[in-house]
Symmetry: C2
Subunit: 334 residues, 2 copies
DNA sequence: GTCCAATAAGACACCGTTGTCATATGGGAG
DNA sequence: CTCCCATATGACAACGGTGTCTTATTGGAC
C-alpha cells in the first residue's frame, strides 16, 4: 500500500541501504547511483516514514517548542520563527502548550520526550524559568535552547534581547520629550522580563536625576484589564503623571482605553508607551510608541542554535528598537 | 538507557504483549495483572514510544491541524480548541502551516501524511476550500474534518457557523438603530466566508426594503490597512454612510482608526461594527460591536468528530452571537 | 463427566528504516 | 608487483512496539 524504501530500491536497482545513504546525504555514494535513486524517489513520490527512522536511527527529525504564554501574538511569532528554521532543515516542529504552574509539568515534558524522541527542545519564556522544566530536561541530557530566559543564564544556549536597556531607552525617550512624572505599569510577576523592564525604567530615571516614586509604579499582569486598572489608579493621583509607560502593548492599550473613557486626549494630555510592538500597537488609536521586540528573529536564531553542530553554549543578543508613533508627544507647557 | 516495554514486563513479571494490552485498554486482562502492570508503569515512569507504536500498529496517535490563516488570534484559538480535545484523547497535535497558493501544496500535505502516518486531519479555513488539498486527502482516503468550509459541503464532516445569518443579524441590528446608509467592507476573496457575510448584509437590507448601493460596498483583505482604505473611500462619498460594517475585526479597527484620524466621533458621528469578536475587539476604543464567532468551540467540535468512531458525515452548526459594545449607537437625528 | 465458549496470557513475526560489519574494486605509494 | 587505503555497495540485525496465532484455564450447559 504505502511506498517504502524497498520500492525505491527496487526501481533504482540498488539495495535499501544505498537508498538510505542517499536520503541521509552520506558519503561514499557514486554520482550515477545517487541520481538513479533520486529519480526513483521522485517517480514514486516517496517520503520516508519518520516513525521508522526514529526507531532505527539516532535522530527523530523532530523538535519540540514548549510554551505557556497567553499572548496569541507572541506565540504566533515564536511558532513562525521556529517553523521557518525547521522547514529549512527538514525537521518537524511539535508545538506543545503547557501550564508552568501545573504540578505535573515535569511529567508532561518527560512524557513528551519519551514518546516522541525529539532531538531537541526550544523553550519559550516563561517556561525558560520553570525549575521543574529545566531540571527534567537536564536530567535527560537533551539539548535545548531558551528564548529570553530570565534566570540561570549559564545553563544553556539562549537568545534574548536586552529588556533592561530597552526599557531604559523608552524611558529616556519620554524624558527627552520633557516628561518628569512618568507612570510605569509592571508586568506579570511570573515573567522575569517584568522585573528587568522595571529596572530599566528606574535606571533611566536615576541617570536623569529624577526621583523614583513608588506611587507612580503600579502592578499589572500583562493584560488589557490590568493596564486599564493601573491607568485609573495613576490618573486619580493628586499629582498625576504626564506619561505612562506600560511594560507591554496589551496593558498600554488598556491605558489608552481608560484615557479615552475619561476624555483625555492622547498624546496631548497624556503620552502612552508600550512594549513588544505586537500588531496590536498599530491597531489602536493613536498608534502606540513601543519597543520592537524581534520575536520571530529570536525564535529563528534559537532554532538555528539547536541545529548547530557545535555544542558550545552561546548567548546571542538581538537588537531592540524604539518605535516612535502617535501615542507620545513632547510635554505640553502648562 | 531508555525505559521500554520490556523493562515494564520484567518488573511486572508478565510478557510484553500483556503490557501492551494494558496500555491499549484491551479486554481479557485480569484485574490483578492489570494492577501489577500499572504499578510497574508508574514505578518506571514509562511512556511508550510513539515511533514504535506507529510502525507496528495501525494508529499513530497523532493528528495534523493544517492552516493558512494570517490572523494570529484565529489560529491561536483553533490550536487551543484542537489541542484541548487531543489532550483528552492522549493524541498529539501536529500544527502545520501551509500556503494554499503554493504549487506544491498537495506534495507538502502528502509528504506530511506519509512521514507522520497521522490518523486524521483537521482543516482550518481557508485550507478547507483548497482543491489541491482536498484532492490529496481524498486520494489517500484519510479521515478529515473541516472547520468552516465554504464549498463542497457534502465531502466530509464539518463544523461551522452561519456566516450569512450572522452578517444578516448584525446588519439588522444597525438597521434597528435607525441606520439606512450602511457601508460594508468585504473580506479577502480567498475566504468563502467573505462572500457569505456580504450576502447576509445584502439580505438584511433587502428584507428591510433598503436599496443595495454598490458604492457603499468596498473590497478588503481582512487586514487593518484595507479597513482603513475602505473607510477613507466610504467617508469621502458625497452622501456618506452613518454606519460601517466591516466583515472582520481587524478591518473594523482600521475603520475606527481612520475615523479618529479625521476627527469623527465613534459612535456619535459614525457607528462601526466588526465580525469575529477577537480579543482585539476589546482592545480598541471604543470597544467594538461585533459578531462572536465560537472558534475554540468549533475547533474542539471538529476534533471530536475526528475521534468519533462513527464514520457518518455530520454537519454541526454552532451558534454565533451579536456582541453589542460601544462602537455602535442609534442614528443621530440631524 | 464432557464439551464448548469465554477469559487470560504468551510466542513470534513484522512494521520501515538505520547502524554495523563484511565485501569488492580501483589507484597511488613503496 | 604488492600492499593498503579510500571508495562504493550490500547483508543483516536491531529499534520498540502491535497483530495474529496458539495455548492454557475456567465455568456453565447438557
Amino acid at each position: 500500500m504505502r511506498v517504502t524504501i524497498k520500492d525505491v530500491s527496487r526501481i533504482a536497482g540498488v539495495s535499501i541501504k544505498t537508498v538510505s545513504r542517499v536520503l541521509n546525504k552520506e558519503k561514499y555514494v557514486s554520482d550515477i547511483t545517487r541520481r538513479k535513486v533520486e529519480e526513483a524517489v521522485t517517480a514514486l513520490n516517496f517520503s520516508p516514514s519518520l516513525a521508522a527512522r526514529t526507531l532505527a536511527g539516532s535522530r527523530s527529525f523532530q523538535i519540540a517548542l514548549i510554551y505557556d504564554n497567553h499572548s496569541p501574538y507572541y506565540i504566533h511569532a515564536v511558532q513562525e520563527g521556529v517553523w521557518n528554521r525547521c522547514r529549512e532543515e527538514g525537521v518537524r516542529m511539535l508545538a506543545q502548550p503547557v501550564d508552568i504552574d501545573s504540578p505535573t509539568l515535569a511529567l508532561e515534558i518527560g512524557g513528551l520526550i519519551d514518546e516522541t524522541h525529539v532531538d531537541g527542545v526550544i523553550l519559550s519564556s516563561p517556561v525558560t524559568d520553570a525549575p521543574a522544566a529545566l531540571a527534567e530536561l537536564e536530567r535527560r541530557r537533551i539539548r535545548f535552547v531558551r528564548i529570553s530566559p530570565g534566570t540561570n543564564h549559564a545553563l544553556t544556549s539562549s537568545v534574548f534581547m536586552d529588556d533592561v536597556q530597552a526599557a531604559d531607552d523608552m524611558t529616556t525617550h519620554l524624558i527627552n520629550q520633557g516628561h518628569r512624572r512618568i507612570g510605569f505599569v509592571v508586568g506579570h510577576p511570573n515573567h522575569m522580563a517584568s522585573d528587568q523592564r522595571h529596572f530599566g525604567y528606574r535606571r533611566a530615571l536615576d541617570r536623569a536625576g529624577i526621583a523614583y516614586e513608588p506611587e507612580l509604579v503600579r502592578p499589572g499582569t500583562f493584560d488589557f484589564e490590568s493596564g486599564m486598572a493601573a491607568a485609573e489608579a495613576l490618573l486619580k493621583l493628586a499629582n498625576k503623571p504626564s506619561a505612562i509607560f506600560a511594560s507591554n502593548d496589551d496593558m498600554a492599550a488598556g491605558v489608552l482605553s481608560y484615557a479615552h473613557r475619561v476624555g483625555l486626549d492622547v498624546p496631548q494630555d497624556l503620552s502612552v508607551a508600550g512594549f513588544d510592538d505586537t500588531p496590536l500597537a498599530q491597531l489602536v488609536w493613536p498608534p502606540l510608541t513601543t519597543v520592537r521586540q524581534p520575536v520571530r528573529e529570536l525564535a529563528y536564531a534559537a532554532t538555528n542554535q539547536l541545529f548547530c553542530a557545535d555544542p558550545a553554549i552561546v548567548h546571542q543578543r538581538l537588537q531592540h528598537e524604539v518605535m516612535v508613533r502617535g501615542s507620545t508627544a513632547p510635554l505640553r507647557k502648562s
